[in-house]
Symmetry: C2
């Protein structure tokens, strides 16, 4: 889902309140309308927009009541900074997604697997649901393990968030240093220079990466060459040394 | 800045286009209006809202032209998932922010300092700006180092983003397992159980942490006790064992 479309949807307080409400438990229109003090007509209108975007789905129960719930797991990140405005939306990566390719990042969670899966046969003799804990399919110890696993992942998510705030501050600092070094007021020259250093050498590629029109990139490369900061070799841009 | 207020502002496409434009270089109203094909009146209105929120600032030049630029460095994260709707906004952490307290996360960047600072005297003999590279205050090698430092941090930011997508998928899986284990359709019971496992034992605290009304938490705790999953000891909730 496009980040812009997602922002358009989430830029409405009542839609956010609806999402928060139905994320706890599926609700029908009258319920939402009463809990939030919003007219049923407006609720229906918001739900329709959310449904069209695939964020929300409904299910009809035996009494023919339509219950709405959140259908998608989607994540949105927006950065507003003097050096740039960026936004992206993404679906969660699958659990088997390989993080070992990360060069700057190491992640560890001790309880990454279901204990019942990890220990295999050892816990196969787990008792059936006892009378006291109706509906339980695991032992209390396993339940505690599952809860701990969840808490650990939530801790990790918080740490990642902190790390991202840290890195955003560092990026701002690094860009300032680079812009200072080349004596530039705006950040575009610094970003183009960094893109070339990173091996992005065609104007079209740089334009895509920085989300800036190609003509602007071309003019920027020309100025950087004129100032002796970049040069062209065999049709490719590189840093002057 | 409140995440809701930020979403309200960013939930408008023309405001996003204005932010993207002025993040590259400061612009005045006519420039913005012409580049985006939006009436000056509308541009002024958008800029006023962005200024009031402190996202945008202006500076007046010698010709008395008012240039607008982005004033703040702020980060917004939104999660829309079947198990919850969450959003938070935050300012970047300072570079000296200590990440060593992270339990599940290790971060490494090789060029975290300006080489000129790191090597001190060794590079103190760096030449003044040469004729070819006017305005340069560093050597070409130092410039390449600065660019590489920036690229490394941007790589790290991408890796953190990937890791967050991964952890969001894992949290969804862990919540599903926990909800399955207690035989519940909605996620609230699972989340309350996990909060108690994590040492959050007062209804008021749980209510704050999960952003759910206190009455709902109290009713949830009551049901979990009835089902033999939680118990109360000395006024504190804990997992039944």
């Amino acid at each position: 889902m496009d980040a812009g479309a997602l922002l358009d949807l989430l830029g409405n307080e009542n839609r956010r309140r609806i999402l928060r409400l139905i994320s706890r438990k599926p609700c029908y229109v009258t319920e939402i309308s009463e809990q939030l003090g919003v007219s049923p007509k407006a609720v229906i209108d918001h739900l329709r927009k959310l449904e069209e975007a695939g964020l929300v789905e409904s299910r009809t129960d035996d009494q023919r009541r339509k219950y709405f719930h959140i259908a998608r797991n989607v994540r949105l990140e927006v950065t507003v900074a003097p050096y740039g405005f960026g936004m992206k939306s993404a679906y969660p990566a699958s659990p088997s997604f390989d993080l070992s390719g990360c060069q700057h990042l190491k992640i560890s969670v001790s309880r990454s697997e279901l204990p019942a899966e990890a220990d295999g046969g050892a816990t196969a003799a787990a008792p059936e649901a006892s009378d006291a804990s109706e509906g339980l399919t695991v032992t209390p110890a396993e339940l505690a393990d599952l809860a701990e696993r969840l808490n650990e992942l939530q801790d990790l998510a918080r740490e990642l968030s902190l790390a991202q705030r840290w890195v955003q501050g560092r990026i701002a600092g690094a860009l300032d240093s680079l812009a200072d070094a080349i004596g530039d007021e705006d950040y575009l020259h610094a970003e183009v220079l960094a893109a070339v250093e990173d091996g992005t050498t065609a104007p079209q590629e740089i334009s895509r990466e920085l989300d800036v029109p190609r003509e602007v990139v071309v003019e920027c490369l020309r100025q950087l060459r004129e100032r002796g900061l970049l040069r062209r070799r065999a049709g490719e841009w590189q840093l002057a040394t």
